[in-house]
């Protein structure tokens, strides 16, 4: 048994932080109360530290199977644990693609063996993520997927997308849409605007995202299927989602820490760690995204953790792959930029990193309550440090936040009653 004493505990039921003790028995939270005493429990003094539900990430890439030189389920789970995550959902853009039951089983079994983090799997919408034929969605739902997506790719054919949505409306899983019209984004490297002009790099217009977000919202209105917009990045996308929610269309959306914090200006020195898709946008987009987060148009934070090896990110900007890692910087970066500066309440951020993503995938996680699994993140909000390559546990180091000063150190992570990270 583990007894966490005097922590500042976030209670999802009350949306409040209270000074409490937590007693963990096996995998389960046995008791939450003030002044618990238990002689057989190992005691951890959490005075002055916050205890949050373990973070939940709906969007990450573990690169396993197929690209394990970038990351694998082991290193990904360790990185997630260090970032305070206890549940993560991995995308199917592996090799082979997770579009069938046997690849799915490989991931699920390996994840279970590693055990550091609860790993949920997103299955592909189309076979090979090629946007041509519907993947084995029904079998994969039986096998345990929590959503479907061709993430990284976007089904261009509206009829196929409609069929995917109709077909999967049988199952209670969200469709996670990477919204991008290729005819508009083709060849693009950075945001179409100030930076594409200044750097002479082909641009990706905001329109490439917005046209597909509109299409997917319309298809969701028709089919009633739950559509979840991945990594929203533009002002108009936020407006489209806001209106769709007013119209009672079944849509949810996520934003990444990097799109909420950084703008295209970060690309100025051809730093390939600022290259991702969708690209970092103009400040007006970033502000609109943050407003969307505040008014709940944007439901959740997702990392889009996308590891790439050093030698891939050391290439010319145009030849370097899209994507940045995110587990270990997500909470500290958001806390430092928005909570510490009082632009947003801590409770709201926690909701968007715990109970709300849990709700989208319909899982009984992301809350601290008696009888539920002991998934906890213990954070010292008063500790500051410089985020450097050295301490990153992910196999990849491609973070746009390297060298930045962060507040809030993740001191300990507990998943299913076991310590998965200790600072």
């Amino acid at each position: 048994m583990i007894l966490l004493k005097n922590g500042l505990v976030y209670l999802s039921s009350k949306k409040k932080i209270e000074k409490l003790d937590i007693l963990i028995d096996g995998k389960i939270i046995k008791k939450i109360a003030s002044n618990i005493s238990n002689k057989s429990a190992k005691i951890y003094d959490c005075k002055g530290k916050h205890i949050f539900p373990g973070f939940v990430d709906l969007h990450c890439h573990l690169r396993d199977p197929g690209y394990t030189y970038k990351e694998d389920i082991v290193s990904g789970a360790e990185s997630a644990a260090k970032g305070g995550f206890t549940s993560i959902c991995c995308m199917p853009n592996t090799n082979p693609t997770i579009d069938n039951i046997s690849t799915l089983n490989y991931v699920i079994r390996k994840a279970r063996d590693v055990g550091k983090t609860k790993i949920f799997v997103i299955g592909a919408m189309s076979k090979g993520r090629e946007g041509k034929e519907i993947a084995d969605i029904g079998s994969m739902v039986n096998g345990g997927i929590v959503g479907i997506s061709d993430d990284g790719n976007c089904i261009q054919n509206a009829k196929l997308m409609l069929n995917v949505m109709r077909y999967s409306s049988n199952y209670e899983i969200p469709i996670i849409s990477h919204s991008e019209d290729y005819s508009l984004s083709k060849g693009g490297q950075v945001n179409y605007g100030y930076m594409s002009t200044k750097l002479g790099l082909p641009g990706i217009p905001t329109l490439a995202e917005e046209i597909m977000v509109s299409r997917d919202i319309m298809l969701a209105a028709l089919t009633g299927t739950h559509i979840h917009i991945a990594h929203a990045s533009t002002k108009r996308t936020v407006e489209l989602i806001r209106q769709a929610k007013k119209d009672k269309i079944n849509v949810t959306a996520e934003a990444t820490p990097h799109h909420l914090i950084l703008t295209e200006m970060a690309c100025e020195n051809f730093d390939t760690n600022t290259k991702m898709n969708p690209p970092l946008r103009a400040d007006a987009d970033r502000q609109a995204l943050f407003q969307g987060l505040l008014d709940d148009t944007i439901d959740i934070i997702a990392t889009d953790h996308a590891p790439h090896s050093d030698y891939e990110k050391e290439l010319e900007f145009m030849n370097s792959p899209f994507g940045v890692i995110g587990f270990e910087s997500a909470f500290p970066a958001l806390y430092t930029n928005f909570i510490r500066t009082k632009k947003m309440g801590l409770e709201k951020l926690i909701e968007k990193m715990t109970s709300q993503p849990a709700e989208i995938i319909d899982k009984d996680i992301g809350k601290i309550s008696e009888g539920k699994s002991a998934d906890l993140t213990i954070v010292d909000l008063e500790k500051s440090y410089i985020f450097t390559e050295k301490e990153i546990l992910s196999r990849a180091k491609n973070s746009p936040f390297l060298g930045k000063k962060f507040w809030a150190r993740i001191e300990m992570t507990i998943c299913d009653g076991k310590f998965t990270w200790k600072a």
Binding site: G193, G200, L201, N269, E316, F317, M318, N319
Partner: protein
């Protein structure tokens, strides 16, 4: 010539990191180099013992010859690396090439590459000064310097001059470096081309005016520069064809009437005669297109001289 020191070992990625005074020093130095190029014996010993590598990951005969001549006239040794059609594959080319050459004792690199930012990478891997000879659509600073030097020679200054640049604004690195340099030197730039070939936020980025009508664009111009129009753009659906382009944006005698009487006509070459510029203009007394080529060697000599810390005596 007493401020050689501030140039020594510098990179030239683009003109944004060079001051007005420094650009003027480059011009003054180029003037001397131009004199040397007119001599019977066109060689000075200042860079004897230095080795310069030209790394061309994208073909360009003219720029390469210009750089090589510049280096040779300063008595430097030159080695040329051309990656086109060679074993260089996407992904492994640049880093290993630079490590290999560096191991043989290169003092300065001249880099042409289709990827913006590649010269910065060459410096990162070599820790030697790098001259950007064109990186994708991003920058071509030696071309901009020779363009500005050509204007400076004729007009005495760039300050207050109206310079109109016409053509494929979106894809041109020559344009981008010229706009950066001209803004710095006090010229007022106007860019003109079809809307589909104009990048966004050009005024915000470069302080340049945009015009879509050629006659408006050249009104009162001191200098008109035509950019090369490439046929691929037609296939990309950006404009209907060379015929219509020439009628709307080609420099003709008629167009010149709207500019100042002593307007200078420029082109970075190679020209598509009859497309962006008609022969009647290219070969007119207004044209300094051939002199731009001459000045190219002088400017590149000046840069190599200043950056490699040569001495005059």
């Amino acid at each position: 010539m007493n401020n050689n020191l501030q140039f020594s070992g510098r990179n030239l990625y683009d003109l944004d990191t060079y001051s007005v005074e420094e650009i003027n020093t480059i011009f003054e130095t180029a003037k001397i180099m131009k004199e040397i190029n007119k001599r019977d014996y066109k060689k000075i010993p200042t860079l004897r013992g230095k080795t310069i590598a030209t790394l061309f990951f994208e073909e360009s005969t003219r720029t390469r010859i210009s750089f090589e001549l510049a280096a040779k006239r300063l008595s430097a040794d030159v080695v040329s690396f051309s990656a086109i059609g060679s074993s260089v594959k996407k992904g492994e080319g640049l880093q290993d090439t630079v490590y290999t050459l560096n191991a043989m004792g290169i003092d300065l690199y001249v880099v042409r590459h289709s990827c913006p930012g590649a010269p910065q990478l060459v410096h990162k891997y070599s820790q030697k000064p790098v001259l950007n000879a064109g990186d994708g659509r991003h920058a071509h600073p030696t071309q901009a310097l020779l363009d500005m030097f050509s204007i400076w020679e004729k007009k005495g200054t760039l300050k207050g001059l109206k310079v109109t640049i016409v053509g494929d604004i979106l894809h041109s690195r020559v344009l981008r470096s010229n706009l950066t340099g001209m803004r710095k030197m006090g010229a007022k730039a106007t860019v003109c081309g079809p809307r589909t070939l104009m990048p966004p936020k050009i005024e915000e980025v470069y302080g340049a005016k945009s015009e879509y009508d050629l006659y408006n664009a050249v009104k009162g111009a001191d200098v008109i520069m035509a950019l090369r129009m490439q046929l691929e753009r037609q296939e990309e659906g950006l404009f209907p064809g060379l015929g219509e382009y020439s009628r709307k944006y080609g420099l003709s005698k008629e167009v010149l009437k709207y500019a100042k009487e002593d307007v200078l006509i420029m082109h970075p070459g190679p020209m598509n005669r009859g497309v962006e510029i008609l022969p009647e203009v290219a070969d007119s007394p207004h044209s300094i297109i051939i002199e731009q080529v001459t000045n190219g060697v002088a400017i590149r000599m000046a840069l190599l001289f200043l950056i490699l810390g040569g001495r005059t005596n």
